[in-house]
Amino acid sequence: MSTIRKLARFAVAGCSTAVFAQIALAQTALDLRKYNVPTGMEASPLFGALPFTQKVLMFEEFGTQPMPQEECDNCKVVVAPSDCNKSMSPDRIDAQLKQRLFPMPTRQANLSRPNPWQAKISECLGWQLKTSYIEGRPPGEMYAHQRYDEFAPKVYFQSVQSGARVNTGARDAAQMHRYQVGEFGPGGLYHSTASGSGFGGSTNGIEIRMHPKMPAQDTNSVWTFDGTLPPKLLMARVGEPILFRHYNGLPINVAANNGFGHHLITTHEHNGHNPAESDGFTGAYFYPGQYYDYRWPMQLAGRDTENVNATDPRAGMPDGAGGVIKIRGDWRETESTHWFHDHMIDYTAQNVYKGNAAMMNYYSAVDRGREGFKCHYADANNANLCLPSGTGLDWGNRDYDVNLLIADKAWNAQGQLAFNIFNKDGFLGDQMTVNWAWKPYMDVRARKYRLRLLNGSVSRYFKIAVVTDKGARVPFHMIANDGNIMEHAVPFPNAESKDLPTQAIAERFDIVVDFSKYPVGTKIYLVNTLEHRDGAGPKEEVPLSDILSGKYKGDPAVGKFMEFRVQAYTGQDLSMNPADYVAGKKKMIPLPKIPAADLAKARRRTFEFGRSGGTDETPWTIKTDGGDGLSADIHRVSAAPQMGAWEIWRIESLSGGWSHPVHVHFEEGQILTRDGRPPPIWERYARKDVYRVGPEPNSSGVVEIAIRFREFAGSYVEHCHNTQHEDHAMLLRWDLLNPGQTVAIPTPEGGWEGMFYEPTYVLPTWRTGSGVGPTPTTTTTTTTTTTR
């Protein structure tokens, strides 16, 4: 007896000391590696999985429905989980998704009902909530939906943010193709939704696994929209206002997160032309049990001043029956490939990494998602660019138009998703995933495809090459940069870059690849060639030959990460030929022109991203208009641009060799210069919302952009999209005020008992900026840029 007791005690003491010592030593060793990848962790185990042995998951559509006209009589509010450490239960979520929108949305935050989880929250917290509200939106007029009657939602969708679970196929019927049309129909390449059998025409049974050989994710390791995979896609039409009711179904206990992620969330539609109350302001977060109604007007910028009679046939949305519903606004502001993701203050990196990221395709007169139908290439009077897509539906064909969310991840010895929350220089995973699948393959037809590439990483930059199994570069065209179709298609390889340019976090590149140039059976790969040694920024572009020969052995995320297998195509490719739209030929979507006089008198603002603070050396800071290096304080307004006027924003990262992908909310801009010179060809014809500054390839220390804000007001942000920098705390707030507005927008703060407001203060330069007009260049400008 006593021997056993002693043994047990010895075992407990001995092994915990040994384990501790081992971990402590390992940690030091890990951080001192030449390649700190994955950041501060051991390599992710592969459980015997081999690359390119599982099918990629295709995005699953949320599906929208018409807005109900009246309150539902017998609908129910969301039901709390029985366990404080668990998300809302899967069957309750499915029931909620089936149920019609309830209660009806309101212009101001709905404070008329309590948080339906109030009793459970009180029980889990151990104290009684005195007040609580069903909606988490900050109260009152400041976060009321702007121009609500004018842009009343026509359609809606809802989702519950929730822990990982098995997909039940609850959205099968919401897919526009209904698994009946084109390649999604029976016999098509994408009818079966996952590797293995039993996935025909349904996502029912899809688990959250990086690979079939790897373990399923624990409910608190991954938190996604609905709690399921595949990742979700919103199919939206320009001009059709959408209501997104986002439920927070995450665990009530903040500690129930398997080490990272926060149960408070706020959802940002990246580059949406959305009023601030629906922009996912970093301080406007909501709590488990609550919903937040995001209303996205989906209007073209310039709606108030351009094409006001809605006569331009290029400004419009597909009507579902072969026609176009014309809308107001500037058709050159048409957007295409977006994503939406969490923006929680201090926790954006963790929450997005954990699964709070969806994609969103905008469909319009020019980008209809239907090829061979009233094509611009056939008649210049037609608006439809006929990008590769398909023909079965009037709009939104995805047969040959594929969303690819590329992200590096890491997992622990048990295969559970893992994250190092302490390294604020950045977090790198060692394994590449596409649409959450580790190194997948995809069958493609021998024809043209549009690939919408999104960098969904926390800190990793990519440079992507497309090569055959023989190692030959595959030519392709970039047709959209940051989700905006460019004036001209850009061929690759080109004189400025052989492969895609550096793609920082949140950047989107839409490319058209023609697989018909290759025999059936050819394998074609996406290869990442940009090396990181740590999360602070990328280092060198690794020669493709060194990667393909296996000579390169450094950053484990450099290399092939996706395989395309060319299959026979018997159909007719009716999509446009991007070569007809290169510089000097036809135009896709011309850039909005900026009158020289407007530019000359534009307000200039300077934002220096760096590390040099007032007295503080370490945190990431932003100096606005020559002021102090400041870290984020959402109470502080750093800039108040003038509504409707062009401004010049100068973004810098000049010291320390740091890389920062800077994202400005609400509007895309045009890059005027990089280091005083014209930008490279892929940025010259582009409207951008992420501006890379730093020493990495294809970037520069300074970038100057022209940008203009219209139609909506409120509190927005600008920040570094290396989300570990953003969270620590490289973010600033800027407010768009309506003319004559003298009251500062107060600052939302929250608690379980409701949101409230705190006072706001401003920088002295908030209105004036740092000058007028573009920065004069003293050096001789050259007309060519070289690839660095």
Partner: protein, 323 residues
Amino acid sequence: MNPSRQARFRYWAAALLAAMGICLMAPIAALAQSPWGRDYWPNVTLTTHDDRQVKFYDDVLHGKIVVVNFIFTNCGDVCPLDTAQLKRVQELIGDHAGRDVMFYSISVDPANDTPEALRGFMKKFDIKAGWTFLTGRPEDITLIQRKFGFEPAGDKPTAHSTTVMLANVATGQFVKRSPYDNPQMLANLLTGQLNPNSRGSGSRQSYANAVAVATDESAQLFRTRCATCHTIGGGDGLGPDLLMVSSRRSPEWLARFIREPDRMLAEKDPVAMAMLPQFRNLAMPNLKLSEANVAALMAFIDAESRKVMEERAAAQHGQHHHH
């Protein structure tokens, strides 16, 4: 074996098996809780300012809401300011301090920072209960910094990270912030989001009370850089009351002292040297302010002083009136 002995045998046998299991599967056991718990933090022995030996995990972190930063007592500029800033945060959280929120400052210069030196430093700042200063073996402190994700200062304490970690160790929440953030924001974090029992702190303004646009950067500067040590008409704090300071000192002297007090002290400026003993020998740190900052601050102090003097005159006038 009687039933109770049998039960005990089963208990210890199970414990042995469990212990062996834990040994093999330690990370799985940790999964149920935060991975940033006992298995992550080094449980090294540190020495407190009052000569107690404490275990870093068991005694310092375990189960607590904590504020942790790194300092050294011979530090010229940043550490005194960090300390003053955190002192302000500690005041703002009121009776949470020492009850459910613990402050810790760990020396990165343990060779010099004996408990006695730490006590001297604390005395200068008039540090209140709920704030422990710690020193220890250099290699242990290096490991702790690494675990926090800070580049260890090594033998160059001036290079240490000034970042503050605000954490709820029980719930596994760790937030890094600058000590120069708005102290109210840090206080909100400690009593709000990091405290699951919080009802939500803050002033609970309603929208109806939204304030007019305030363009008071200098006020913000004063709040975040000066107010921890100085008042304007509120009496001496860690440093002197600045009411009407421009009538006591020349603008040149004042501007230079705000900008580089360390150099003036090194040069043994007589006015600066005379002030030192009046304020516990706590030297004013170099705040690394720009000339524009200094000008803005001087203007702010003047304007605020005038306001205070006017208010006092009005109050006095009112009193006379009553007579």
